[in-house]
Every structure is written in C-alpha cells, then in structure tokens.
C-alpha cells in the first residue's frame, strides 16, 4: 500500500515576494515583515537599547529598503539589504536621540553583576536576565560605532562575515579585524565587572 504525503507548498522566495509587493499585493509585504522583523528588531534594539526606538528604526528600515530596492537588486539578498538599512537607520536614530538610555551608563551599579559573566551560568547564578542584558548593552556602548554595528550584525542578526562585509561595504578582512577588536573590548569591559 502506498501513501501519498501532501507536503506544504514551498515558501515563496524573497524575490517573488518583492515582485508581488511591487504589483501591489499587501500580503507580500506582510510576509516579508514577518520573515525579517525579528533580526531587524534585534539589531536595532542592540544599537539603540530601547524598544520604541528600535521599532522606529525597523519601520524606517523597511520603508527605505522597499522604496530604494534598486540599491540592492542583483548585488545582495533582501535580508542583507534590509539589515544594512535598518542598522544605518538605528545608528542615525541613536545619534539623533542621544542613545536615550545611553545606556543609562551613569546610573547603574556594577556590583551585583560580578561573577561568571562569560559563562552560560550567569542566569543560574541569580543574575536577572534583564540586568545581564543591560550589562551586555553597556559593554556594547564602549565600542566604536563600526565595531558595534559589526558585532551586532554577527551576534544578533547571525550574518556571516561575507554578508556583514556586504552590509557594511567593506572587506571580509576588515570585518574579521573589527570583530576581533570588538570582542577584546567587550571582554575587557565584562571582565572588569567580573573582578569588581
């Protein structure tokens, strides 16, 4: 006896969705948004440290990415194009709004965050996730803008070095170097808090 399995229809590729979007299909925009809103938001939130600002950057990024499609077609994926626009929008917004929480660098104590920050046991050690996240953002704030953007695109958007190089219009070697120095700074910042 043979069985027939009805598989799910394949998901439309980004290019198809963009064509449908250009033809005025609202559902195509919804699908693109659903597909990429999370990495876009994560990148923007890391760069801005504030949900409302991050959503503004995501909104700005989608609008600009979709109204300037000629800027990427044939040269990169929609995802890298979108993340490029979103991260640049977030950096612009951050400059404009003064990195609102900034990230509340002056008002927070480092004391309770000591211990095992570079391990996976931090939450288990009683450290609240929100506190740890705030500390990680403060560490990011010590980086230069390009280092921060590079690291966030790698860690949060999970882009490859090649994709980051496309997003930032630079070489893979530069991405490698920026990531290395970013990590050095992050570790130095976090280690200081560990030892304090």
């Amino acid at each position: 006896m043979s069985t027939v399995t009805a598989g799910c229809p394949p998901l439309p590729r980004d290019e198809e969705l963009l064509q449908r979007f250009a033809a005025g299909h609202r559902a195509a925009l919804e699908e693109l948004f659903r597909r990429y809103r999370q990495p876009a938001f994560r990148v923007a939130h890391r760069l801005l440290g504030h949900e409302a600002d991050a959503l503004d950057a995501v909104q700005e990024g989608f609008v600009k990415a979709l109204t300037h499609l000629s800027g990427f077609q044939g040269r990169s994926s929609f995802k890298t194009w979108l993340l490029r626009v979103v991260s640049n929008a977030a950096l612009d917004l951050g400059r404009q709004r003064g990195r609102r929480e900034a990230v509340s660098l002056d008002g927070q104590s480092d004391g309770p965050l000591a211990g095992e920050l570079l391990t996976d046991d931090a939450a288990g050690a009683g450290l609240e996730r929100a506190d740890l996240r705030a500390l990680l953002e403060r560490a990011l704030a010590t980086l230069s803008e390009v280092q921060r953007q590079t690291f966030v695109l790698y860690a949060d958007a999970e882009l490859s070095y090649r994709e980051i190089a496309e997003v930032m219009e630079t070489s893979i070697g530069t991405v490698m170097s920026r990531l290395y120095y970013a990590r050095q700074k992050l570790r130095a910042f976090l280690s200081e808090r560990t030892l304090s």
């Binding site: 919804e30 994560r42 949900e51 570079l118 230069s144 949060d156 990531l179 990590r183």
Partner: protein, 230 residues
C-alpha cells in the same frame, strides 16, 4: 627561507583564531589553525572565550515586542509606503511658486539673520568661507552669513530645495539638517541628501557623515519647513 611569521607555518593571528572559532575559515586557512591548535592545547580556552561571548549575546536578545506593537509597526510601514513617494530633490510636478516662495523665505531668513547678528554683535564681520556649493531652484543658494559665535545658526533653505553639488570634506561637519530653533536636529542620512563630490569616511565608509562637528564654525542649517514634514 620563509619568515616564521609570514610563511605557511606561521601561527594564526588572534583575528584569524577568532574567525576560525566562528567557523568562518575554510580550506587551507582552517587547516593551518587546526594544526597550530593541536600543538597549543592552551589556546582552546581562547577559542571557547570567543564562542562563549557570542553565545552570551545570542542567548540574551532583546525581548520580543508584543503582537500589538508588531501590528502597529506593520501598519505604519504600510501607511508610509502607500503615500506618494517624496523625491529627495524638487519633484517635477511641484507648483512653480514653491521655489519662488522658498527663495523669498530664504532671503528673508538670511536678511533677518544678518540684521539680528549685526544688531547683537556689531563687531562680527568675520568673512565666510563659501565652501558649500548648493543648487537652490535655478539660482545658487545664498552663502552662510557671518557667524558671530560658533553656535549661531541660520535657516537657509528647505532641505528639499537644495542639492549639494560639491563640498569640501573638511566642511561636511558643518552641514546640518534640522530645525535649530527648536533645539532638535534631524540628522541627515545619505538618502536625504546626495553629495556628489565627497570622499567616503575612512573610518566607517559612510558617505557622507552629515553632522555638526565640535569644530564647526560656520554651520549651514538646512531647515525642513513645517508644512513639508512627512
């Protein structure tokens, strides 16, 4: 004889080791790091630090916005995309009187700024370096007026009425897009203004970096008029 730090047997640089830890090295480059690591078991801790830091960030992402916040964001995107596109420069269909009106506004603002400046700072006669060449409608934009103080700013023209045709890289920090009278700047992005003659910033590659630098002495302020705000 090959130098030990440049030949095929040289130890990997720290950046290469990090790239290997990220799984970004392939082929001979990856094998070279692996061979080196086999002789340096203590370096495994470094590799683990690199991976641990990435994991730490990935395991602590920003909290997801509520579904209502996502829906609202999508709604705003749809709303903005459904509006007629606004070109960065003067659209062809704009009524002819706009350039004239804006020219008058610009001239009035410039004149007013000069008059006020002279009234308040009679000694301020410093020459202005007209380094920004702008196209304002069919006529060149007025040069920035004398700046009695570094913080003195003058509305010159609407952002949508100005195309910057060339700008000295040293003067890029003098260009500000925004409304200085309210104390809130709207930073220009490369999509907002097309600068044709400007080298990329060597540090971040952005083109151009339009912001007011701490050493700006003659800020040129391009004001977005209230009725033109999106």
């Amino acid at each position: 004889m090959s130098h030990p730090f440049h030949g095929p047997d040289r130890p990997p640089t720290p950046a290469e080791l990090s790239a290997w830890a990220d799984g970004e090295l392939l082929g001979p480059a990856a094998r070279r790091v692996e061979t080196w690591l086999a002789t340096r078991p203590d370096a495994a801790a470094e590799v683990e630090q690199v991976r641990g830091l990435t994991r730490l960030y990935r395991d602590h992402p920003a909290p997801e916005p509520a579904p209502a916040a996502w829906r609202a964001a999508l709604g705003r995107i749809e709303d903005r995309l459904s509006r007629p596109a606004v070109a960065p420069s003067r659209p062809p269909g704009r009524p002819w009187r706009w350039p004239l009106l804006l020219g008058l506004v610009s001239a009035a603002a410039l004149f007013g700024g000069v008059v006020i400046a002279r009234a308040l700072w009679p000694a301020a006669e410093a020459p202005v370096d007209p380094t920004v060449v702008a196209q304002h409608g069919h006529a060149p934009a007025p040069a920035p007026p004398p700046a009695p103080e570094d913080d003195e700013v003058f509305p010159v023209a609407s952002a949508r009425e100005v195309d910057i045709l060339s700008i000295d890289p040293r003067d890029a920090d003098r260009v500000v897009l925004g409304d200085p009278l309210l104390g809130t700047f709207e930073w220009a992005s490369p999509e907002d203004i097309e600068v044709l003659d400007r080298e990329p910033d060597p540090e971040d590659g952005h083109m151009p970096r339009l912001q007011r630098g701490p050493n700006a002495k003659v800020p040129l302020v391009i004001v977005t008029l209230e009725e033109e705000r999106p």
